[in-house]
C-alpha cells in the first residue's frame, strides 16, 4: 500500500469519466426520459378529453333520441287528426250521396206512380166506357157522354 503516481492517474481518469458521462451519457437519456414523461402526460390528457367528449356525445345522442320521439309522436297525432278529418268528410259525403239517391229514387217512384195512376185511369175510363157501352149500347152515345165519363174518371 503505497500512495504514488496511481493517485494522479486515477484522478485524471475519474475526471475524464465524469466529463464523458456528463457530456455524452446523461443529457440524451434524461431528454428521452423527459420526452416520455411529456408523452405520457399528453396521453393521459387526451384520454381525459376523450372521456369528456364521449360523455358529451352520449348526451347529444340522448337529446336527438328525445327529439325524434317527440317528432314521431307529433307525426302520429297529425296523422290521427287527418284520418279523423277524412273519415268525417267521407261520412258527410256518404250521407249527402245517400240523401241524393233517396230523393232521386223517391222522384222516380213518384213518377212511376203517377204514370201508373194515369194509365189506370185511362184504362178504367176505357173499361168503364166499354162496360157502359155494353150496358147502354144503344141509347148512350159515346160521343155525347164522353165529357161526363171523363169527369168521373178524374175523380177516381
Amino acid at each position: 500500500m503505497h500512495i504514488n503516481l496511481t493517485l494522479i492517474l486515477q484522478m485524471i481518469s475519474f475526471a475524464a469519466f465524469v466529463w464523458f458521462c456528463m457530456t455524452y451519457v446523461w443529457p440524451p437519456i434524461m431528454q428521452a426520459l423527459e420526452e416520455r414523461k411529456n408523452k405520457i402526460a399528453e396521453g393521459l390528457a387526451a384520454a381525459e378529453r376523450g372521456l369528456h367528449e364521449q360523455e358529451l356525445g352520449r348526451q347529444r345522442a340522448l337529446e336527438v333520441m328525445h327529439k325524434a320521439k317527440a317528432d314521431a309522436a307529433e307525426i302520429i297525432s297529425q296523422a290521427q287528426r287527418r284520418y279523423n278529418e277524412l273519415l268525417d268528410q267521407a261520412k258527410q259525403d256518404a250521407v249527402a250521396e245517400g240523401q241524393r239517391l233517396k230523393l232521386a229514387a223517391q222522384a222516380e217512384i213518384e213518377q212511376q206512380a203517377n204514370r201508373a195512376r194515369e194509365e189506370l185511369r185511362e184504362r178504367f175510363a176505357t173499361l168503364t166506357i166499354a162496360a157502359a157501352e155494353k150496358i147502354l149500347q144503344q141509347e148512350i152515345n159515346a160521343g155525347v157522354h164522353k165529357n161526363l165519363l171523363d169527369t168521373f174518371a178524374k175523380q177516381i
Partner: protein
C-alpha cells in the same frame, strides 16, 4: 492456495501487494518484486493492476450507458435502456432529494461514482485466487517468477483509487464553495462560525478539521470496508486444501460472506454517492 510452499503470512502479503511498475534505484525500470521494492520506487510508480481494472470497469460503464444513450428513445424502452433508466432514475431521485442547488455536473458525477464504485467493489465477489491464478500462470509462461507476480483485482482496496475520487470531489467542493460564496464568503464560513469573530482560531480549527475530514473519511470508509472484505475472503481462502471438512466449511463461509458482501458492495457505492451529493450541496449553500 496457489502454491503449497507459501506460508499463510506470505500468501496474505502476496494478495495485498499491488502489481507496481516504476523505477527502482537499484534494479531500474520494471515491476517491483516485493512490497518493499514497490515502496523503494517512491512516488513515481504505478499500480498497474489498479489502473487496469478501474479503467476497464470505468470504460465498461461508459460503453454501456453511452450505447444506451445513443439509442435512447422516448417510446417503449429496450431491455438495456430500461436497465440504464432504472439506475439513472435512482441516482436522479437521490440528487433531487439531497441537492437543492442547480448544477448539471452533480447528477452525472453521482451516476459515475455509483456505477463505477459499484463495479470496482463487485470485483471482490470473484474468488480471490481466480484472476491472479491465471495471471501468474500466463506471466510464468512468459518467463516471470510467479512469486513476484502480484495482482489485486479490486481497485477500491487500493487507497490510491479511493483517495483519487475523494480528492477530486474535495476540489470540486472547494471550487463551488468559492464560486458560489466568493473567496470572502468561503473564508468567512471557515473562520466566523460557530463562535463569532473573536473565536477565530478555534473556528478555523473546527471548520478546518470539518472540511478536511470530508475527503479523508469518504475515501477511508470505502477503502476500509473493501479492504476488510477482501481480507476475510483471503482468510477464508487460506482454509482450503486442509482436508475435506475444512474445504466444505470454507466453501460455505465463502458463499455466506459473498452474499453478505453484495450488501457491502452496493451500500458502499451508495454511501459514497450520497455523501458526494450532500457535500456538494453544502458547498452550494450560502447560509448554513
Amino acid at each position: 492456495m496457489t502454491t503449497e510452499a507459501l506460508t499463510a503470512q506470505a500468501y496474505i502479503q502476496h494478495h495485498l501487494t499491488n502489481l507496481t511498475f516504476g523505477f527502482h534505484p537499484e534494479h531500474g525500470l520494471g515491476f517491483a518484486h516485493s512490497s518493499i521494492e514497490a515502496g523503494e520506487m517512491g512516488f513515481w510508480a504505478i499500480h498497474v493492476d489498479t489502473m487496469f481494472f478501474s479503467l476497464v470497469l470505468g470504460l465498461l460503464f461508459l460503453w454501456f450507458f453511452q450505447s444506451v444513450s445513443k439509442k435512447a428513445t422516448a417510446g417503449v424502452p429496450s431491455g438495456a435502456q430500461n436497465f440504464a433508466e432504472w439506475i439513472i432514475d435512482f441516482v436522479n431521485d437521490n440528487v433531487r432529494g439531497s441537492f437543492s442547488g442547480r448544477n448539471p455536473l452533480v447528477a452525472p458525477l453521482a451516476l459515475t461514482i455509483f456505477v463505477w464504485v459499484f463495479l470496482m467493489n463487485a470485483m471482490d465477489l470473484l474468488p480471490v485466487d481466480l484472476v491472479p491464478f491465471f495471471f501468474q500462470h500466463s506471466m510464468a509462461a512468459l518467463g516471470a517468477d510467479p512469486h513476484h507476480v502480484f495482482l489485486k483485482v479490486v481497485p477500491t482496496t487500493d487507497p490510491n483509487a479511493t483517495f483519487a475520487m475523494s480528492l477530486m470531489i474535495f476540489f470540486t467542493m472547494l471550487y463551488y464553495s468559492v464560486k458560489i460564496k466568493g473567496v470572502g464568503g468561503f473564508l468567512g464560513e471557515l473562520t466566523l462560525e460557530p463562535f463569532g469573530k473573536w473565536g477565530m482560531p478555534a473556528n478555523l480549527l473546527l471548520e478546518g478539521i470539518n472540511l478536511l475530514s470530508k475527503p479523508v473519511s469518504l475515501s477511508l470508509r470505502l477503502f476500509g470496508n473493501l479492504y476488510a472484505g477482501e481480507m476475510i475472503f483471503i482468510l477464508i481462502a487460506l482454509m482450503y486444501g486442509h482436508g475435506l471438512v475444512m474445504d466444505v466449511s470454507a466453501g460455505v463461509m465463502q458463499l455466506a460472506w459473498a452474499i453478505f458482501h453484495i450488501l457491502i458492495v452496493t451500500l458502499q457505492a451508495f454511501i459514497f454517492m450520497v455523501l458526494t451529493i450532500v457535500y456538494l450541496d453544502m458547498a452550494h449553500q450560502t447560509h448554513h
